[in-house]
Point group: none
Chain length 154, copies 2
Amino acid sequence: MDRFLSSAINRIDAKGRVSVPGHFRSVVQKRGFGDLYGLRALDVPAMDVGGTDLLERYESRMANEDPFLQTADDMSFFVHGDGAFMKLDQDGRITVSDFIREHTGITAEVAFVGRGLFFQMWEPERLKAHGAQVRERLLKLRQRASGAAAGSAE
Amino acid sequence: MDRFLSSAINRIDAKGRVSVPGHFRSVVQKRGFGDLYGLRALDVPAMDVGGTDLLERYESRMANEDPFLQTADDMSFFVHGDGAFMKLDQDGRITVSDFIREHTGITAEVAFVGRGLFFQMWEPERLKAHGAQVRERLLKLRQRASGAAAGSAE
DNA sequence: TGGGGCACCATGGGCGTCAACGGGAATGAT
DNA sequence: ATCATTCCCGTTGACGCCCATGGTGCCCCA
């Protein structure tokens, strides 16, 4: 398998390092990523982490914009400025910088979540809360759909 | 990687010097920039810093303007008159002049932000505020565009 | 089927290197 | 003479490299 799947929670040590789950590392290697590139997710307190192809995908998207309009500037600001290289050390660990902590609220533990072509880093409690929210939204969606069909009360 | 990516905050010392982040310096060297050229960003309180290609970028922007209109004249004034060379000393530091402080509000610390082909210098608090604005605009952009399903990193 | 051994992974910590930073001294400009 | 600029050196703290330990699951063999 060459995609990021499943999730795991690892602890940050006294030096601020955390092990990237072994399974994810093998995916990184299999896809030939040199360095990992992570950027702050737009609408959730998480880091989106992937290879340099993640970056290239954004850049090809930006190439379609007029470089002198604000949108292109915003995109560049977000992709280039709101991201950071996350170098794996020889044991497959990355250091959790303040840059990451600020956006995610991560302090002592990191929840890694596979997302296919990339993975995410969350503060475990926030991930849990987010998961509950998503679940609720999906549930409401379904209830509304079936309610409209049957005309039943909620 | 030969592009300016990620960000860092460095302190200004008693002599008014600040270290350019090591990663940025290696990019400068790799791209073969002799001197760094910095100019006041048009719509934000930041310095745009890069090699001579930065000048070309602005000049191509001016080429799109009618040379008889005031806009072109204003732009030329900005690009050619409102810029400054920023020489790196032996330790990779530059001096933060009043010219820079006036436009950016920088006093004690400088936030360096990678922007791909160039980088920016910000007063850290202002950068934070600007980042929040950008984030908001991009979020709106995405919400407007998403009739279809979209992952959080797309 | 149970047990020993092996491999892998998460975690902790020692240590060397380098970047950021502070400051002294020489040089140059006004 | 005074101030700003540049060179050079030392300090410090963060980070990368390396090794050790303990836990867990797997496999092989008795």
